[in-house]
């Protein structure tokens, strides 16, 4: 086969797929490269959150009674509601990706907007949770006080000693250790919340793109950006799948 003959189908392919990058031979190769690149990013995100989970595990093991007492102040209602909301948003995201693959831009827009809606509900719930913690002086700062934790768990405080049932610790120790729990809580859920916020911004950009494609009736739009943001969004969901039981539930009610 002459060089000319061999290259002809590729040139045709390139004409039919305008979003095919110069460095790729086929759209499949380009899509594979996108997927691998996105997974490389997600893997480093997994390790980034993993370090925080490891730190939380180590200190929970060391200060079990204090951490369990502190976790009782978290709202199971909001935790469950937010898990529900994020799982549904993962579903609507998967549907948006499906619509994008089928070049149905109107459906794609609809499901992207639903995903943004559920993500926003998550953030609103987080606002309620955080403000409640703020008013209870449970934000780890100079005004932090373990008073609410003691009150919530009906713990007895005598001569500056907090009775945890299995052992007694000084009020100073109890304050420091529960403060450590809330440091983990706010850093982990806060970082996760930032990821949700970033997700909302990227989803909004995708929604605008989907709208443009719909108005212009683009026959073959590149669906990979939607699938890649989908990967990110599902990852954010997975982080919450672990955060919820480990922070809110573990240690009994």
């Amino acid at each position: 086969m002459s060089v000319r003959e061999a290259e002809l189908p590729l040139a045709e392919h390139r004409r039919e797929v305008p979003h095919l990058g110069e460095q790729y031979e086929t759209i499949e190769q380009q899509n594979d490269a996108y997927t691998i690149g996105m997974w490389a990013f997600i893997v480093q995100e997994v390790l980034f959150f993993g370090g925080l989970f490891a730190g939380y595990a180590v200190y929970r093991f060391k200060y079990l009674y204090e951490f369990v007492a502190a976790h009782h102040t978290l709202s199971i209602f909001f935790g469950t509601l937010n898990t529900f909301v994020l799982l549904v948003s993962s579903y609507t995201m998967a549907r948006a990706v499906r619509a994008a693959m089928q070049q149905k831009h109107d459906k794609q827009l609809k499901y992207l907007l639903w995903t943004i809606f559920f993500a926003s509900i998550f953030m609103v719930n987080k606002y309620f949770e955080y403000s409640e913690k703020y008013h209870a002086h449970l934000i780890p700062s100079y005004s932090y006080s373990a008073e609410k934790v003691i009150h919530y768990n009906h713990l007895k405080v005598e001569n500056g000693m907090v009775d945890l049932g299995a052992r007694k610790v000084t009020l100073e120790e109890f304050t420091g250790r529960t403060k450590l729990f809330f440091s983990f809580y706010f850093i982990m859920t806060g970082l996760h919340g930032l990821h949700v916020l970033a997700g909302i911004i990227v989803l909004a950009i995708l929604a605008v793109r989907a709208y443009m494609d719909w108005v212009r009736k683009v026959p073959h739009a590149d669906y990979m950006p939607v699938e890649m943001v989908g990967l990110y969004w599902h990852f954010v969901d997975i982080v919450w799948i672990f955060l919820f039981p480990l922070l809110y539930l573990m240690g009994g009610q």
Binding site: V17, I36, V58, I238, P245, L249, G251
Partner: protein, 106 residues
């Protein structure tokens, strides 16, 4: 050579995504229910983690389409969790086998 019309996508039937969501919802109910059952702390951790890992696996395979992705994508996704396990194992082994420095006031 594939044209956009024949372009291979991972799009599944709607019922595939709907069923996945239902399974995740059942697991969510299990997660919360397990949180209210009185059990030893180690068992609570084991149950919570088992359900969480199941949920994450379902999301990764079905929603993230890893089930339908190339071997290289499998390798990348798998490597991430393999490294995570190494990080956990080494960190915990270190904390479990050495004594803690006393910290004033903690």
């Amino acid at each position: 050579m594939a044209t956009p019309h024949e372009e291979h996508t991972h799009a599944q039937r709607v019922s595939f995504y709907a069923k996945t969501l239902w399974v995740l919802m059942v697991l969510l109910v299990l997660t919360v229910a397990a949180g209210f059952v009185k059990m030893p702390d180690w068992l609570g951790i084991a149950v919570a983690l088992t359900i969480a890992v199941s949920k994450a696996t379902i999301v990764i395979l079905n929603f993230m389409h890893v089930r339908f992705s190339s071997k290289l994508a499998w390798l990348f996704a798998g490597a991430g969790f393999f490294w995570l396990i190494i990080m956990f194992a080494f960190a915990f082994a270190d904390y479990a086998s050495r004594h803690w420095e006393p910290e004033q006031g903690w």
